[in-house]
């Protein structure tokens, strides 16, 4: 009996040491908050010592490239009439330690808040100097939200039903004008750290309002005519020439299957390879978690 009691005592002692040790040891890279495993529609967990809350706005920004138009790397003037993206599982984190998208994984956060439903927004809406588009507002515990994740999914309702990304506008070069509608339907996921820009974002005071921003860099797709040709933003971009080449007269209206069928394999692969780099937080890069791993 004494031997059994000794074994039991030893077992309890080992367990009491092992469990905290495992929990502590896993914290540097473990991902208790997962866009895969957690339900984005679940209630916000109890997270702060107080019940202080504020309003956290989630905005989407296509930047001046989308609102004002731009020249591609190959000399096409692009102007968007509509640019629909559908965001889902939008989640803001009070990440501790701060999340580094370069290191991969997911933010480690005791406090997260999420938008419940997918939202389709038009990044081209408003005037040339319009504010970033409001995706949604959530009542959130006060604190610092320094990480953001979201998915881009096919819309389930008009105006972009079935499409993740709907780009509609005009491309003009010399005396040729092409009216284009480019539709893509992959699922993308972005996990990002702190917003990088002129201002800081995500500092939410009690009874205050703060915002976070999902930023989309469409110059990655088309290039930037104002940057040198040898700049990485241009060497990696598709440009518009390959799309102009498959236009029917002055119209281009293709979905992803049509693009795959008509673009050269190299151009189609380049197009799809650029999509994971669209998502940013201001100028800060994100890790793409869906398409890049499929």
């Amino acid at each position: 009996m004494r031997t059994i009691r000794t074994i039991r005592s030893l077992s309890k002692l080992i367990l009491s040491l092992a469990i905290p040790s495992m929990l502590w040891a896993c914290t540097p890279t473990s991902t208790p908050v997962s866009s895969e495993s957690s339900d984005p529609t679940a209630p916000t967990p109890e997270t702060t010592a107080t019940d202080a809350v504020g309003e956290l706005e989630i905005r989407a920004n296509g930047e001046d490239f989308v609102r004002q138009g731009f020249e591609t790397r190959d000399g096409w003037q692009i102007n968007f009439d509509q640019l629909y993206v559908t965001l889902a599982a939008v989640t803001a984190y009070q990440s501790d330690p701060p999340f580094d998208a370069e290191a991969g994984g997911l933010p480690i956060a005791q406090t997260t808040v999420s938008l419940e439903d997918p939202v389709t927004v038009d990044l081209a809406a408003g005037e040339a100097t319009a504010d970033p588009i409001l995706v949604g507002t959530v009542t959130a515990p006060a604190g610092r939200y320094n990480a953001l994740s979201w998915k881009m999914v096919p819309a389930t309702a008009d105006p972009a039903t079935g499409q993740t990304l709907w780009m509609q506008g005009t491309a003009t070069k010399d005396d040729r004008r092409i009216d284009f509608i480019i539709k893509l339907n992959p699922t993308l996921g972005f996990v990002c750290g702190d917003y990088v820009g002129d201002d800081r974002k995500g500092f939410l005071d009690a009874d205050g309002t703060a915002d976070l921003e999902a930023t989309f860099h469409f110059d990655h797709l088309f290039g930037d005519g104002e940057a040198p040709p040898e700049d990485e933003i241009n060497t990696g971009a598709l440009g518009f020439d390959p799309l102009a080449a498959i236009a029917e007269g002055n119209t281009l209206d293709l979905d992803q299957a049509g693009l795959e069928a008509q673009l050269s394999p190299a151009d189609y692969d380049r197009l799809m390879g650029i999509l994971p780099s669209l998502g940013h937080v201001g100028e800060g890069h994100c890790e793409e978690t869906e398409l890049a791993r499929s």
Partner: protein
């Protein structure tokens, strides 16, 4: 992503930057009118170095340094040098945040600073575990397996 790498160094006495100028300028109480004097001293400084994924330095990039007591208002602004480096002298311990931006690309580094003004010795900005941390993780996992096994092998009363 543009990694920010860090170096700790004691600045040599002859090194003066815009960051330090304001703290180095001193006018003795007995100074003559219009007299100007510059003193120098050694002080711990923190150097960041930013580069693109390609390895190219982020030269002449915009830098903002945020002190731990006010992470919303930059304490310092400046530009990196031709090698993407920027030097600053922290005046308080805590997590300092430094953003570096250029041509639509940027990153923020969080740098833990000690009371002595140096980077915390175990700070690792590569996002990977240190050898010590790896050892601790391995030991903890082993503890977990052993403990769990012993718990379920215990005799029933």
């Amino acid at each position: 992503m543009e990694p920010l790498t860090l170096k700790r160094q004691g600045t040599p006495g002859y090194w003066i930057s815009g960051v330090l100028c304001s703290s180095l300028l001193a006018i003795p109480s007995a100074a003559q009118a219009h007299g100007a004097h510059i003193q120098s001293r050694n002080t711990p400084a923190i150097e960041i170095q930013a580069h693109y994924d390609s390895g190219q330095p982020m030269a002449e990039a915009q830098v903002q340094v945020f002190a731990p007591n006010d992470l919303q208002t930059p304490l310092l602004r400046g530009l990196t040098d031709g090698e993407g480096r920027f030097l600053f002298v922290p005046d308080q311990p805590g997590d300092w945040e430094i953003s570096v931006r250029q041509a639509g690309h940027g990153d923020i580094a969080v740098v833990p600073v000690t009371l002595e003004g140096t980077v915390t010795p175990d700070y690792n900005n590569s996002g990977e575990l240190t050898p010590v941390q790896r050892g601790v993780v391995a030991a903890a996992v082993i503890w977990g397996f052993v403990g769990t096994a012993l718990f379920f092998r215990r005799g029933k009363p």
